[in-house]
Symmetry: C2
Subunit: 337 residues, 2 copies
């Protein structure tokens, strides 16, 4: 796994990504907040005021896809990193890298969708930056959104809260975003387009935190999909994640696309789903609250956390046979966000 | 000035940049904080707690230059946007776009300088993101740093505070960063390298705010240089900026480079300078405080704000003749930050 140059897999959310973070990126930055590997940082800003802070750069291609575009994806992605951390999104920054020759009407369309999406989510773009590079030095547009959120509770969420016996819950079907982008890139495919699941999750997370107790951790399974999210939580908690294979909700459309391209739905990105772990006594209530919302209407319990298999994700079939779910080494589908 | 596609000048900090912001970027985002055109936003995060929030993407080429690299520049640039807003920098985010094939030892060197620079400035990288794009879709590395700062005072700074009669002060010589990059890109130039002025300004701004009264606004004259900063402040305050041409400190080295390439030092970026406007009674004290520091050792008064020439920047020669200082329309020197 030792490379001298960056390869696409370093951006996959899979094993090479983790290797790059652990070997190259974290050591010189030397601080424990980053190494917590959450998608947001919690900062004390004086008194007992805490804020959540997150950042994401979007390099997706194509820029426009069924269900959204790079702008909606950026706003949702940043809001969701704050939301699954338990914060209420407050404000975004917007930083653009534009390639010389990029069409202004594309830029206008993307900004319109950023403005509209932000407004619908109750946040605003507070500050920004625009850079232009010469033709060939970027691919049209790259877009960074950082975000600030505030907390109205003093709960502690995170992998350290997870205990054996906790329920593993997902808020809906997996892989719609990844499958949508895979289809978009194939001019000759035989299927109807799949609509990305890109959606803001802050209303749902706030509802869950207000109505349910015993919530341990929430994550949005984006790059690397459900497999990468469960892996990270297994590794960070040093507990095992035991998932009933048949419980994992995969739509027929996504299953067909996976078959067509040889993809694994567990590895496909979601952009509007929550993976949640909670006290087993809260599990039914969490599913009920999720199902009462549009974005969580297909929520279900996937499995449970276990002392067996520390740091490992295991899928169990209905017949009781088990397989270890590994992270992909290379990138199955680059530039999906 | 109406284009259908992005041109390099849209990233210059000059007239085309302003046109892009006013016509394309601001309208769909529709909020007054962005239109304040400061390099940071002030956000209320509950109670009477305010934070400063800023973002910048760095696309500089070459990545390494005399006096720093893309990493030091990013940390300084983001800290300085917070500092000139009157805030104390607290934390940064770091978001990387890496091109497939980028050398890992370059990445390591950049991260090392980010870690070291952040530590020296008393901030830390709290959260991050890494994306990889295929060969040819980016130019090595682009790097976004967003920043959070806190306030320990209730001063209001900004162009609305500026009044006729206020003194215009600069903390040192102009154009070192732009001139350094211009020389770096020319293999055949006849001069010794010029060291970029890239430096953190938060110690200096805090010292000024603590020791001096009557501070109206502070800015760091980066893209577009002194000319662009004075223009923005003239436009935002609808007052005139009258500058004594001979007071503007330009080093001999920078003057030579400007002559060689036909550049105007007023348009060259600084990355470690402050332009400050204050009550004229505070001017001598501000200069004294600046000069007591290494980074402000060549501070001086440039001129004064006037009711005449609303919204315009005017340079006056020692013989009393005057010229209007215009913004460059196109990009004199792309990708300098």
């Amino acid at each position: 796994m030792h490379h001298e140059r960056i390869v696409l897999g370093h951006g996959s959310g899979g094993r090479l990504s983790h290797d790059l973070l652990d070997r190259v990126i974290f050591p010189p930055l030397d601080n424990r907040i980053l190494e917590g590997r959450t998608d947001h940082a919690t900062l004390n800003v004086g008194g007992d005021h805490r804020i959540a802070f997150t950042t994401d750069t979007f390099v997706i291609t194509p820029l426009f896809f069924p269900g959204g575009d790079i702008g909606t994806l950026a706003v949702h992605g940043t809001i969701n990193d704050l939301a699954v951390g338990g914060a209420i999104p407050l404000a975004l920054s917007l930083s653009l890298v534009l390639e010389e020759g990029f069409e202004l009407r594309c830029l206008e369309r993307i900004l319109l969708s950023i403005g509209k999406t932000a407004k619908n989510c109750g946040v605003f773009v507070a500050t920004g930056d625009t850079k232009v590079v010469e033709r060939g030095a970027a691919d049209g547009i790259f877009l960074n959104t950082s975000g600030i959120g505030i907390f109205d509770h003093h709960l502690t969420l995170g992998p350290r809260q997870i205990e054996a016996g906790d329920a593993i819950i997902i808020s809906g079907t997996i892989g719609e975003h990844g499958a949508s982008i895979a289809l978009c890139r194939d001019m000759a495919h035989p299927y109807a387009p799949i609509v990305s699941d890109t959606a803001p999750l802050h209303d749902l997370t706030q509802k869950i935190l207000k109505q349910c107790s015993g919530i341990k951790v929430m994550r949005d399974p984006t790059r690397g999909g459900l497999a990468a999210t469960l892996h990270e939580l297994a590794k960070a908690s040093q507990l095992g994640m035991l998932v009933q294979e048949s419980s994992v909700p995969v739509s027929e459309d996504v299953a067909s696309v996976c078959e067509l391209y040889g993809l694994d739905p567990w590895h496909l990105a979601c952009e509007g789903r929550i993976v949640l772990m909670c006290d087993p006594r809260s599990a039914e209530k969490v599913v009920e609250v999720m199902r009462s919302t549009r974005e969580g209407s297909e929520a279900c319990i996937l499995g449970r956390v276990t002392h067996e298999y520390p740091g490992i994700v295991v899928a169990e079939t209905d017949h009781g046979s088990q397989r270890v779910v590994d992270l992909p080494l290379y990138e199955p589908l680059p530039r999906i966000c």
